[in-house]
Symmetry: C2
Subunit: 206 residues, 2 copies
């Protein structure tokens, strides 16, 4: 496959990996089973971003809003987040988990990575992972202050909304929606978003 | 024309009327001349929203970021905002202008309408108008606390970003982009956005 040459790349990409439950239902599984199929796509995306030289990515893990879902779903997305971090520990990244650690809904396995940056391997890319994150909690505590402005937010699963994703870092972000569901991630989704992004003007509200 | 029946309408619509300068250039005018062509579309949209029974609209007038533009443009959009409010005074609306009145960039003609609700005629609809608004200023002062959650944001002019528009009220908002420029507003733009909106699920992040 020929390598795409981008005129301009975002430094920091926000990822809203939506559609795991819809994917599960479409594959005759129960809703909560969808989350574990979201881990492999995350690593595929991480690899491509490393290859492209993206400097920072922020993944929407789960939110305090999400924990109002049935317990079996809450457990499933908590487990998927823990598994993702444990796998990332074998790769190259500067990881920072941001979320409310004062709540029992924050997975205790992730406490060593919370609210500070932890070096895995050679670093190479900053990965921020929002786990038991809440936008009100963030605004009240300035909890995400170590996360910089986001240039491009990509949301899978067709919804055109932020759903509480980092309201401060998102104020000037370009927002690209992929209709396909997150577990169906393909390299082409990212390329399509980046090809669109390179032709957007950057005004920072000016 | 047959009246469209919507299954579900947003209570509160946010309006980002972008593209005035690009419209001006496309019509052999200078950039700053575009703003005054944005007033009539605003009243057309207001009339249709009244007809549909929309309860509240918030218009993005101009921002503190915008005032970094050349002075001739800054004067032109200030004047357009003043003219819009003076014309609205002859209609039915509960107007509230939100913006930083401590700055000389806030048009003094609009001080009587700032940071409180003013009844015009029979009221009928809440109109919020952001004038010399800034998202940082808003977050620091909780300046927009009287504006409720937004259900649907419609942005004209093709850009897919919020550009600092009410970060708190926008966290769960569905975001619809019209590629056409704001001075080319047509009823069909609103209908297209509302037809899309009625099929979105409302989860408030859950």
């Amino acid at each position: 496959m020929e390598r795409i040459h981008f005129k301009r790349l975002p430094e920091h990409i926000g990822i809203i990996p939506d559609g795991n439950r819809r994917w599960a239902l479409a594959h005759n599984k129960e809703k909560h089973e969808g989350y574990k199929y979201g881990i492999k796509p995350g690593f595929e995306l991480y690899e491509i971003c490393l290859e492209y030289g993206i400097k920072e990515m922020t993944f929407y893990g789960f939110t305090q809003d999400n924990t109002k879902r049935p317990a079996v779903q809450t457990r499933a997305f908590q487990e998927a987040c823990v598994e993702a971090v444990m796998k990332l520990a074998d790769r190259d990244a500067n990881l920072m988990v941001i979320g409310n650690t004062d709540s029992p809904l924050f997975p205790k396995e992730l406490l060593p990575f919370a609210n500070k940056r932890v070096l895995f391997g050679k670093g190479l890319i900053n990965i921020n992972f929002l786990v038991n994150y809440g936008w009100k909690w963030d605004l009240m505590n300035n909890a995400s202050k170590a996360i910089p402005r986001i240039d491009l937010i990509i949301r899978w699963g067709g919804r055109r909304r932020l759903s509480g994703f980092l309201p401060i870092q998102s104020v000037y972000a370009d927002f690209y929606v992929i209709d396909d569901l997150w577990p169906n991630f393909k390299r082409n989704h990212l390329d399509e978003a980046l090809l669109w992004y390179q032709n957007q003007d950057i005004t920072l509200g000016g």
